[in-house]
Point group: C2
Amino acid sequence: MLSFHLEPHSGEPLYNQIYEQIRERILNEELPPATKLPSTRSLAANLGVSRNTIDTAYYQLQSEGYIDSAPKSGFYVCDITPTDYRHQPELPSVPSPQSRDIDISSSASASASPEYLYDFDPYSIDISHFPFSVWRRLSRQVLMDDQSLFLLGDNYGDPLLRDAICSYVRMSRQVSCTPDQIIVGAGVDYLLQMLSLVFHSLHMEHITLESPGYTQAAHIFHNNGLTISPGILDKNGLTTASISPASSLVYVTPSHQFPTGVVMPYGRRLELLGWAKSSPDRYIIEDDHDSEFRYRGRPIPALQGMDNLRVIYIGTFSKAIAPAIRVGYMILPPELLAQYRLICGHYSCTVSRVDQAILTRFIRDGYFEKHVNRMRKLYRSKHDLVLDCLQPLIQKYHLTLQGEHAGMHITIRLPDTVSETALIQHARKQGIHLYGIHSHFLPNHTPVHPEEAVLLGYAGLTEDDIKKGIRQMTDAHIFSASALSRSI
Amino acid sequence: MLSFHLEPHSGEPLYNQIYEQIRERILNEELPPATKLPSTRSLAANLGVSRNTIDTAYYQLQSEGYIDSAPKSGFYVCDITPTDYRHQPELPSVPSPQSRDIDISSSASASASPEYLYDFDPYSIDISHFPFSVWRRLSRQVLMDDQSLFLLGDNYGDPLLRDAICSYVRMSRQVSCTPDQIIVGAGVDYLLQMLSLVFHSLHMEHITLESPGYTQAAHIFHNNGLTISPGILDKNGLTTASISPASSLVYVTPSHQFPTGVVMPYGRRLELLGWAKSSPDRYIIEDDHDSEFRYRGRPIPALQGMDNLRVIYIGTFSKAIAPAIRVGYMILPPELLAQYRLICGHYSCTVSRVDQAILTRFIRDGYFEKHVNRMRKLYRSKHDLVLDCLQPLIQKYHLTLQGEHAGMHITIRLPDTVSETALIQHARKQGIHLYGIHSHFLPNHTPVHPEEAVLLGYAGLTEDDIKKGIRQMTDAHIFSASALSRSI
């Protein structure tokens, strides 16, 4: 039987103490792979804690890939030893690197139009709860206090803001860095452009990106002259075997893969880091786009915290605060930082100093944390509502959900009989805007059997509209293969 | 005798009516090249206007290159027919295009340090007169009025801001464009990067830049993979003969060449446009960096107004408002605009919408014009003071001034006996920071006989410090060749 040392009054939540102690034993192989864990009920009784506490600890371990559950038989320790990808046979579905180089000439994004009654846009956020009055007050204070803010500031971002970001990512994301490794810029797109310059100057000109994934990143790298290869996803996220041999760079969203919602488990993370370490000048770009929003357990620590020499960390305030606050940041490993200084050190910071000063106070004075906590509750409640409303449809139409309990959308995998395109068209006639997964495959990368799925974004909708929208989907039988064939 | 049709009550200044009518006759060759104009005194008497009015009209014609003055003999019409550069013999001082391609690995910028008592930084501006209270009020209004400003806006910049910029550049710079040709971005550096992407996608990969010139632009183009050639300047600015035959792009500052201060006259402008038109896909980038600040006559119209198909116009609010307001804009000819939309249409605007909204009101409600007018007066007064203080030194040390009556600095050309580097070192020992012209040559472009000159920036200094600083230069004999040789 597992023994635990719990300190109920330490201030550290009990579930986290349990999580830490099990995780520790898995890492040092005291609990080897395939070990069955006690059931949540018996462990709760044994430790004299609520079953919910154990549920949360197990859930956290499961999302991070340390344990897995088998239906009706409980929880088992996963094999976290990284697969040696170098000796893995080539996957038959992965074409040669040559043919996988893709050409991106343009891409299209969907936008809400008045013809839709309910827009389940996965990129939308809810700004109705933004603390406008706080922002106004801070803005007034900043403009009163410091006229020097109108002079040009630090090219890398104002030192106080970089300090605030540094504390935040260390605390909340377990990122390991110093403020001088942080570069502030006007949005992630801009930062990816600057990164491209650094890569070019180091003759790193080939990058693998998740497909489906964040196509805008592929577009930007392509525009900046990099060659793009699509990486294949399985249930653990990007497979290291699918990284093009020509790539020294890989772009991933390990905490919450966009758009599938997969959380990359510990074992796959080690594999990926193993790939990076197996040759000099290999780097992983970690886009931690919506890490603030997990609705069960703790946020999953950043990959960067596991290896701060090989991982470039990218964060943004667009989702947690507001898209119009054009502030993103990247955290560079020392070698790339030196090259960035050489190549781009003379580029002025693209964010206005006034905005930087407001944001600094917003973070430093605790408003950011409060706001994120409030939004997390709000989004969780919308998320739970979506799950509730979808429940009857899931069984009826054999749907599978993916990427729940985090982010701003749920991915609904469709059965083979249902075509994503037909479903979206059918929904459109009902005034419902759904978003397919196909448009998130990298351009010119058509998988042999493309998965069919729709993304249901809920953050930008009211609870009332979520209910009505899903009821309308239900009434119109939009997930029904036969209704679809009639509709076309 | 010239006859004029003047309307004293039309609201249009008399000097401008005279300027327009003479200019018209030069353009239609009613006044052919070498025609002597009446003296200012006789024309003033004839028209019954003050001599000052004629002075201003003639000065304007002279700065724009329509007329020229010969010492003690009056004003003559210039030959504005563009030289046919294609049949011009190669200048012996211009090396072959191959050897003129330069490699820029890094560059350094000077920054003020506490060891200096007087910093004549040509990049400094005076923000003590910035209307902080107006900006605060507008900022408060904007944050009260419109919460949708926190949602993502137009990728090209908010339509209202583009309208305001369009009206402004049409009125004040005679730029010919529609608001949809305008792209707003976080500073000129960023816009040059976006331009580089467009050029690359059209296989335009070679650019000629003024040398001495804006080295940061060269650095950015180089970082983005373009090949750079230095263009040679004469007293009329960039010579078309020195544009590399490999270049389809040229970057110029025609209204006020940085750093020499030369105004490109009409004839040279026509030549440059002729170069652009002589082959498809040739473009001129016009960086109109400090156009707001001319202290005599009207501002010189933008080159773009003469040909809106071949000229890319770039403007910024960094100098007229404040460097920390990271807002620049570029105005693209239709063909490049289409390509920009294709390649970069999905990049989010890098300027926060709140800042865009404040700036829109600042321009629309007349504060910008008022502020620029106030700053122009202020800078003019500092400029005149610098000229006054330098007067005794000019004759004594055989100095030549260049680029007066505009911008934020004066260029002092040194006699052959004085070394720029030695002079700057000598001044440094006196606590005076002077800036040489050498660092503005493009990297790896060392002219055979580099001109020796220092730039005296005055905008950021108080009148008191200007006086004291120049007095200290005088007392320390820093322009004296013999004092320099003793000092080293």
